[in-house]
Amino acid sequence: MAPPTNRMVIAILALIGLCVALYLWAHNAGLTGPIVCGVGDCATVQSSEYATIGPIPVSSIGVFGYIVVLALSFVGLQPAHRDSALIGGLLLTGSGGGVVFSGWLTYLEAFVINAWCQYCVISAILITLIFLASLPEIPRLRGGTS
């Protein structure tokens, strides 16, 4: 079976998302200089109380999430797993959950923090694209191929 194109797309998008999340994580960990922010007010968003959930930086959640999606898509490209309904289901639910989470963060930027962070917006777009690229997994869940 040919490698599923949608999973290749997901892998590339997840890699980009991982790089974005890694940069934010490194900034929150104090490992970088001033945050590079061409559009919006990244510093205000990253220093707000909503940049963490309890003791956990939101960027850490992003890093973890993108690593999981990247790993799933890579495994799903291997010949033994190209038809895997489990991987398809995990990609769908994982990215779906990511869309909901990103939606909440976007709401916070728009109506609570009243500032936009370009990296958060980029990540929201990426996870949405990943979710859309996961939709072709639905036939696999039903036991078919896509």
């Binding site: 490698p3 290749m8 892998a11 590339i12 890699l15 980009i16 991982l18 790089c19 890694l22 940069y23 490194a26 900034h27 929150n28 960990a29 104090g30 490992l31 970088t32 200089g33 001033p34 945050i35 590079v36 007010d41 510093a43 205000t44 990253q46 220093s47 490209l77």
Partner: protein, 230 residues
């Protein structure tokens, strides 16, 4: 699949390379974050260098002096609870001026020296007191950071500073001598812990053992021979 792997590798090199570049810049910056050697000829040179930051009427008869450490929880409590009361009453009325001297206890508060310099950098843009309060308000976050510079730069943005100028100041050695001189001055005055509060009136200086608002008011009243004022 080969094309996919080539594309994946290209994106990985570019993306992770960009992150690594920013981390490298941050880790090898030159921000001075510890006291420096001072070569001062005499006590007058020390006093001249060890400038505190004043608030209130420069001609006020009473001076309230604090030697403080931005990473000290007690100083945070003082800054956020007591000082606003002082600002709103006896400083606003012109009876007293408030002077803050840096006394970072670097042996237990490793980020305090850099925080003190950050506040001085904010003073360059006339936002010292806003930044002073912001540092104490967010103390829990930056106090545990292994490299707090990025947090300090975030706060600079919060209080409306020019980020480039602030960053250039923070990543240099500017004010390292001033903060070190503040520490030396405090040591010579017998300061060993923070906050340490002194009241000066008419050439007399007293160190307070209690620094809640009422105690400060009472001490000022005792020294000036007046009842507590508002």
């Amino acid at each position: 699949m080969k094309k996919f792997y080539y594309l994946f590798a290209a994106v990985a090199v570019i993306g992770i390379g960009a992150v690594a570049y920013n981390v490298g810049n941050g880790m090898f910056g030159s921000a001075v974050s510890a006291p420096i050697e001072l070569d001062l000829g005499n006590d007058e040179a020390l006093v001249e260098l060890a400038q505190g930051v004043e608030k209130g009427d420069a001609d006020a008869p009473v001076t309230i002096v604090e030697f403080g450490d931005f990473q000290c929880p007690g100083c945070g409590s003082f800054a956020l609870s007591v000082k606003p009361q002082l600002d709103g009453t006896i400083v606003a009325s012109g009876q007293a001026k408030f002077v803050f001297y840096d006394f970072p206890i670097v042996s237990i508060h490793p980020n305090a020296f850099l925080a003190a310099r950050a506040a001085r950098c904010a003073e360059d843009q006339d936002k010292y007191w806003e930044y002073h309060e912001t540092l104490f308000r967010h103390q829990a976050r930056w106090a545990t950071a292994s490299m707090p510079s990025s947090a300090f730069e975030d706060y600079a943005s919060d209080v409306g500073l020019d980020g480039g100028d602030f960053s250039a100041c923070l990543s240099s050695d500017k004010y390292a001598d001033v903060v070190t001189a503040n520490m030396e001055l405090g040591t010579r005055m017998g300061v060993s812990g923070t906050p340490s509060i002194f009241i000066n009136f008419n050439g007399q200086t007293r160190r307070l053992s209690r620094f809640d608002f009422e105690s400060i008011q009472q001490e000022i009243a005792n020294m000036t021979g007046t009842e507590g004022t508002n």
